[in-house]
Symmetry: C2
Subunit: 391 residues, 2 copies
Amino acid sequence: MTPKGFLFSTAEAAIKKPGKKDLALIYSGVEASISGTFTTNNIKAAPVKINIKKIRSGRGQAIIINSGNANACTGKKGLQDAAEIIRLSAKGLKIKPSLVYICSTGVIGTPLPMDRIRLRIPELIDQLGKSSIEDVAAAIMTTDTFSKIVNKKLKVDNKIGTIAGISKGAGMIWPHMATMLCFIMTDIAVNQKTLNRVMLDAVKKSFNRITVDGDRSTNDTALVIANGLIGNREVTEKSSSFKVFRNAIHEVTYELSRLIVKDGEGATKVIEIEVKGAVNEKDAEKVAFSVANSNLVKTAAYGNDANWGRIMSAIGYSGVKVREEKIDIHTGNVKVAVKGLGTGKDKEASDALKRKEVKVVINLNSGRSSAKVLTCDLTEEYVKINAAYRT
Amino acid sequence: MTPKGFLFSTAEAAIKKPGKKDLALIYSGVEASISGTFTTNNIKAAPVKINIKKIRSGRGQAIIINSGNANACTGKKGLQDAAEIIRLSAKGLKIKPSLVYICSTGVIGTPLPMDRIRLRIPELIDQLGKSSIEDVAAAIMTTDTFSKIVNKKLKVDNKIGTIAGISKGAGMIWPHMATMLCFIMTDIAVNQKTLNRVMLDAVKKSFNRITVDGDRSTNDTALVIANGLIGNREVTEKSSSFKVFRNAIHEVTYELSRLIVKDGEGATKVIEIEVKGAVNEKDAEKVAFSVANSNLVKTAAYGNDANWGRIMSAIGYSGVKVREEKIDIHTGNVKVAVKGLGTGKDKEASDALKRKEVKVVINLNSGRSSAKVLTCDLTEEYVKINAAYRT
């Protein structure tokens, strides 16, 4: 299920604990189209600053990633270090440095251990092809408990193309990107502008609609790289295969974002908050995030308590004008509140919360717009993980 | 330390668990000036809706409070119930219903147990004077672990006046009022407009600058009632005693708000986040709240980890334009970051976090404005309390 022409390798530079891979290289045999979205945090990690400039060209061939250190809040040295890694990689790969992208994830504020990374770059390049996409997905993990890979095959111009996506997430997850890295590779030829538009829209409906803890990271990056090796005619918005391609990318990003929430730090369940009947999509999204980010809603979900009062309260402070007496709330398929009042079915609704995947539907009954946000519950384990992260 | 002319009583109506007082009455022997601020949550509890209308008169004499049930999201019945409690109390007290205020705190979405409350109102009135202000402070508690009382004596026109304030808080605490009730009583005569302005300003700098979990409640109310029984000339903004009075109210609200944070659900420490060097006060407040509401900052504080990277990240996503390379951060009196870079003093900074009261100072070095916000750490205990709140 690996798209044609992509090679991988991983290495250990002792950035994470010994015995764990923390460097990864993704390489396309040929120059490719590339598109990306990055954190909206005003404080951006060095690699993000660099990628934002590079991506304007729309061209790429390699991505080098380290986990365990975010290379954020590291000043000029951080930028120099990232530039050096790019330079060394490009030299070894014999390609232009402008075609090499760099991503980091991990602890903020500590310089990269360059002495150890420098040593490993030749090894990474020599070993290209000896690692699988699964190895890369594992090497980019930080507090993730499982690796995240999604594959799709689709027909374009009677040729079979493959899309493979990997991501890492876990904590510091919030809309507009989180400590979240996502790499999508495909061997389908795609027009650069089309790739940008499809990716932007897909990210908006997936990674920008998940939340674990309301914290946005300095490092979030989602890249899609398309090398065209199946030899199709370039997909544009006018192509007959456009919709198939767009839907496949949406499915890949949605599924990867769902996996990130599922693996939210300490999470025991995934909660989908759907807000319907809003005046516009922005309002629907605002209400959904207000509920999805409420620590009180998230702890109640953890305790299997269909505490719809906390949901009402979070709707109320979302900043969106709502009419209390019009709001209906479903937990699972149990109507727990109608026209702003409890139905007394709290017991059944609480039973519905006991599943691993829970749906909460809020109908504001004020318009026709809707939005879905994915979140997870808040547990003692989240606190434990984050109180002890650096120790 | 009780202001002249105020009488108290408490009763048990089995709204909370058996053996706990859950009804309280505050009564001034004479009609008084009253001023209040209420939740900004769009979904307001029935008593809040009623008080907001009443308070326009600026006159009051009694406040009846129940804990254990918020009377929020209870529709028309909730409003009828609150009105009936007011009517019955006014009748028993032989005062106009317009002089009786009502407050509720507790679980959202369940109608008040009116049969039991109705029975207790005559008892509450008969027993007036048999309870102390301490008893009232205890009766209004929900998940609070200690009662919150602050007293001040001050000289006005050569007469000694008293200000006594009580509050309850614990969870669902956020700026612009939280599940927070505050009642301030004084025997000093104060001009109605002056009282409004002093209270509004005091709330802005105290209750609106605390956060436990970023959740704002449907019920928040802060009332100040001034009966003038010491016989001073009414305090106005032109009085020589104005500043003394204003400062005393500020001290009372600040101290009560500090006690609420100290008693934050599961909290082990109070954290003051001071942001300096901002372009304006609004920006300073925004940055301070972004840091104070970050679950990652709060769990790190719990783990005594001076993880300044998480602070930088929260500054970055506050929405305020900042220059990373200008930011200094102190934890306790340890400089942990200078000009956006770590000083390597993480160990000393972490030791500074081990106290019960911790100061974090962030200097944006971009202007002259500042703001302080109080928060607490996020612990496993918070999750436990809120996962099991209704069970």
